[in-house]
Amino acid sequence: MSNVDLSVSIGKLKLRNPIMLASGTVGYGNEISEFSDLNKLGAIVTKSLSLKPRKGNPPQRIVETPSGMLNAIGLANVGVDVFLKEKIPFLKKYDVPLVCNIAASTVEEFVECTRILDSEETIKAFEINVSCPNVKDGGLQFGNDIKAVGLVTSKVRAVTNKPLIIKLSPNVSYISEFAQVVKDEGGDAVSAINTLVGTAFNIVTKKPKIFNINGGLSGPAIKPVALAKVLEISRKVDVPIIGIGGIMNWKDVIEFMIVGASAVQIGTLNFIDPAAPERMIKELEDYCLSNGVNKISDLTASYII
């Protein structure tokens, strides 16, 4: 047994290590359990859930770009009721903290979803997705509207005592202003970042390559932007941050922690190497051992500027 402490806290939420799987890149856990022992992971974040099931966007939903990918899934999901009935039983079998990500088009819907899910004790925290760029009837406005983000935070806060994480949009001038509002309105932590708005066109047909026209850019291409956003929040606002964006290996995890992240989420990498997150936990432990890091949480915001 090693004596490295990999555990981290995100406000009230305690995780056995900082490796979380990001919303929309792990489904509801089933498929990825064939590659990783879920019980080893820090946490799993569900695909964004909405009040009613959503069919999502017609194809084409994804396109590869240099060191990145655009997606416009359109929040396809089973809805909270089916989730509780059909997906929770599988997840109950595991001892991995489950974070429920919620998407909605109105403040009321955010509140309603949270209320319905709150009594399910398998769910250990909520992550509110105010920042999905891929739905036409809401999503983006929320993420870019500081008052709306504040309102959603306070209203959802009122209906749950579980840790409340707000997932921020990077497509704004100053992300730290949004993090400040989240803190002020009672949110426990912020996730940064969701995808960047991007597009790609077919030069033969002159049509967008993805049905939704714009998609969300993820993957290693966005890592420098994500790091800068995490650093901006870390320097300006005293709130726990979950770092997300382009993580491909354990070194990227350390880099995110140094600039301010308490934990991280792995997204696009799950599609390429679904065994990587579990492997990374071991690699982080080795790193800590050989660098005299006793508690990995000491790395958070350890930047020297």
Partner: protein, 253 residues
């Protein structure tokens, strides 16, 4: 589902732009069924970033075969992998063809690179069923008949075989098809699959088609590969997980 790093045995150029790659992968060879596919990472760098999906083309002992067209960066890198290089394989993926149905003759209908899954399917059914293969392409050079039996061809430009598309050729051979209990297996571009589906509806043939889609993961976690379901207009099916093989009646193309 496995992730294995397997050595390339050889890469053979079979047409101007088409390659067959033989890979030593006992674990995959043991499990995979015709119609399933593999998601292959061609480079350790981040460009290309995502895996590339390829149908299983054939299996021989511990070796597996894929057949591919050089389309872009990914397939270009793959084509350059010679004996001793490694490919990182995730698979077997998807559901494969149903070989248990009751029929006497298997009719394969392939458009362009759609020939890829049929060598393996041929190997699996040839001892118990009759096989007729219909292979179409834009032109002579697009006809891929590697390892197929009893082949009829069509080209859009008439440079070889029947002058027209492959479904027109099927229609012309209708008498051969109605003589006995048959099952149709189709693979090719979605437009071709759509007219094959219509043809099968019209003449009431049992038909399975292998569909294509852009994919990120290949195993059901990204929701990137939707296909319209005939049964339930409120939900998409996923090509990678619910397919890539569907009964042609079950999907809207």
């Amino acid at each position: 589902m496995l992730i294995v790093n397997s050595p390339v045995v050889e890469t053979i150029q079979v047409h101007e732009n088409i390659y067959i790659q033989k890979i030593l992968s006992p674990e995959i060879a043991r499990d995979i069924r015709p119609g399933q596919f593999l998601n292959i990472r061609v480079s350790e760098t981040t460009n290309p970033l995502l895996r590339r999906p390829f149908s299983i083309c054939d299996v021989d002992g511990d070796n597996i075969f894929i057949m591919f067209n050089v389309m872009g960066e990914g397939t270009k890198i793959l084509a350059c992998k010679q004996s001793g290089s490694f490919v990182d394989i995730l698979g077997p993926l998807g559901n494969g063809f149903n070989l248990e149905d009751d029929y006497e003759t298997a009719v394969f209908v392939a458009g362009g690179m759609g020939s890829a899954p049929f060598p393996y399917l041929t190997r699996k059914v040839k001892d118990s069923k009759k096989i007729i293969s219909f292979v179409g392409g834009r032109s002579k050079n697009d006809l891929i008949t590697y390892s197929l039996m009893n082949v009829h061809t069509s080209t859009d430009d008439g440079s070889e075989g029947f002058n027209g598309n492959i479904v027109q050729l099927l229609e012309k051979n209708l008498d051969k098809l109605t003589a006995e209990k048959i099952k149709i297996f189709g693979c090719g571009p979605n437009a071709m699959l759509k007219s094959l589906k219509d043809f099968c509806l019209k003449y009431d043939f049992n038909c399975e088609i292998s569909t294509e889609s852009a994919m990120a993961c290949g195993f059901g976690i990204c929701q990137g590969c939707p296909i319209e379901s005939a049964a339930n207009p409120d939900r998409y099916l996923l090509v990678c997980k619910d397919g890539p093989v569907f009964n042609s009646k079950d999907v809207v193309l």
